[in-house]
Symmetry: C2
Amino acid sequence: MIDSRLLAWAYLSKVVEGPNAHLQKLLKEGHDVERIAFGIKHREEWIGEGLLKNTDSRYSIDTAQTDLETIAKLGGRLITPEDDEWPMEELDHAFGFAASGMSDHVRTYQDDALPPHALWIRGGNLRTLSAQSVTLVGTRAISQYGTEVTREFTQNLVSHQWTIISGGALGVDSVAHSEAVRAQGSTIAIAACGLDRSYPSHNRDLFNQIAKSGKGALVSEYPPGTPPQRHRFLTRNRLVAALSQGTVVVEAAWRSGALNTLSWCAGLGRIAMAVPGPVNTAGSLGCHERIRNGSAQMVTSADDVRSLLGAVGAMDSQTQYELNFAATPVQGLTRNELRVFDALDDRGEGREAASIATEAGLTLQLTIFLLIALNKRGIVKRDGTAWSRNAEMP
Amino acid sequence: MIDSRLLAWAYLSKVVEGPNAHLQKLLKEGHDVERIAFGIKHREEWIGEGLLKNTDSRYSIDTAQTDLETIAKLGGRLITPEDDEWPMEELDHAFGFAASGMSDHVRTYQDDALPPHALWIRGGNLRTLSAQSVTLVGTRAISQYGTEVTREFTQNLVSHQWTIISGGALGVDSVAHSEAVRAQGSTIAIAACGLDRSYPSHNRDLFNQIAKSGKGALVSEYPPGTPPQRHRFLTRNRLVAALSQGTVVVEAAWRSGALNTLSWCAGLGRIAMAVPGPVNTAGSLGCHERIRNGSAQMVTSADDVRSLLGAVGAMDSQTQYELNFAATPVQGLTRNELRVFDALDDRGEGREAASIATEAGLTLQLTIFLLIALNKRGIVKRDGTAWSRNAEMP
């Protein structure tokens, strides 16, 4: 039997198409999710005029039970802010920044500048997968050049334990996802429809591979049965940008949807990047325009991307400088290094990498990658398979 | 018989390899050129220890007569700061800026950060040719992409009456020069050897075409007989950058000589520009690096170049804005528009374009181009073939 609380979340996911400011407000005020669901279903006045109006056409059709059964049959689940797996850090960072109202794009699309209330998932742990991730997007009309660059960037990034996030579309998105799978890396595809559907249908096999690889995930804000519709792509794009630490547009002409994702990226306080290309074809026009007007950083390699995102192993001179002159080595740690360091026993007891990974909320591979980097810098000790803080830290 | 004054300049050009700070100082102090030449030849003390030392190995060999005969046989001439044709505005702008000492590059190469004392020329009027000019340079190892881009940029620029300046090398330089000739535009090749030589010899025909086209020029700081040597290329590069209003590196990998020219461009207060290209070949690495570190503006079309250089017909919104809101229309004129406007009779008498061009020191074609633009904006009137200021200016 399905938990009544989860049923309430599934009901809300269906009848309140996300995101929704009224629902976010009720949740923030501490109202219980089951009470909110009941209130909407029974048209209770305290729910507020706005949310009652938003749910007017859907409130009476409760498909929560069926939707949860459908996602379970697909090997998936529904996750909510109450779950450990909820990508809290990424969403807080992104929509916290958006709330500061600093971006024209966010002001224009303010109804969408809110976190999802729940997410449907097939595949691995979303929070650990997104903790070190980068979004690669671009044109559907991908060129040979775009294909080569997308592959090169993806190979380099996954070999450094970065998860590749994209929108599952044809072209750049598909090449990024499939190259990540081929290189046995992690990838997340964020859909604009229910996960019982494959859109575009051409990518059905790819999506199944991602879901079943054990190293990736398919994610949607929409319950099973939701068709892909134009407005959902635009709303979905904010999540494609929000869940990673930065977005790279690999190839995009004018008016490419990828540029919409890039605008979200900047509006959500993430690092917006674009790859230049030949100037005598239309393929990179959109990238060049964003670089020229300063709304995207130019990146010519995956090393550039990692350097801008401040990852270990690709530190720029500024980061290196800050590290060298930090008052203590710990003050010089990057965000994810700090998560690993904090997860180590503070009395010097050794701990297994798997247990550190769980504690830190990072993938096992990334955790080991970071432990080795910290070890090289004398901050972490290794004894067999046990890792601990180095008491005689430099 | 050759003028004794010109013989003195030719002597100095030969025995004082340019540029030379000591000689510049004497000239600036108002010493007569014939007296200086005599002083050097006869080792007079007032010339100063520095310049006597610089001329120690060459002062006794006076080839001035022969050198002037050689250049005359080639249909060329020697020009000096005493000639109307001396590109005074460009050299003053560039080396005046350099003297401000704002650039690391200029500090490093300060011995070269001085104007030439004389220039050997085959072809058209250097001052009018360089008045609206842009430098296109790049790798000798040009790719198909580089070839296409160089051609496109050149075609567009010459069709808008821009002179193309370059260094006559194989690769980007040659494509720029020859495309300018093919499109019946103006082009200037600046050599690192005497004009009686063709370096690279492969370009002999191209150089002759430029010299004889009536719309271009070959220029060198070095008298006939001077061989091309490594240090001369680096010294020459400053002139390639100094004579135009901006330099575009079309294609350049690491350590390309074209990047040296780009550094000069910035150090001389000119607009430094670079064209991006594919990131998965080495061809555009140097361009990307300069764009990334902010030392060159990214340009993806010749329109971008003209817009950055503030030319009419390609005004960016900022320029358009300044023009629209200038207190008077004349205050909104660009540098060359002002030269044309100032050359018009201020009592409203009509004047022929050829006479305006001479007065303004611009090519006839550029002058007509600018007159038409000013006419469209109501600043200039046309009556048959006579042009005048519009008394009822908007």
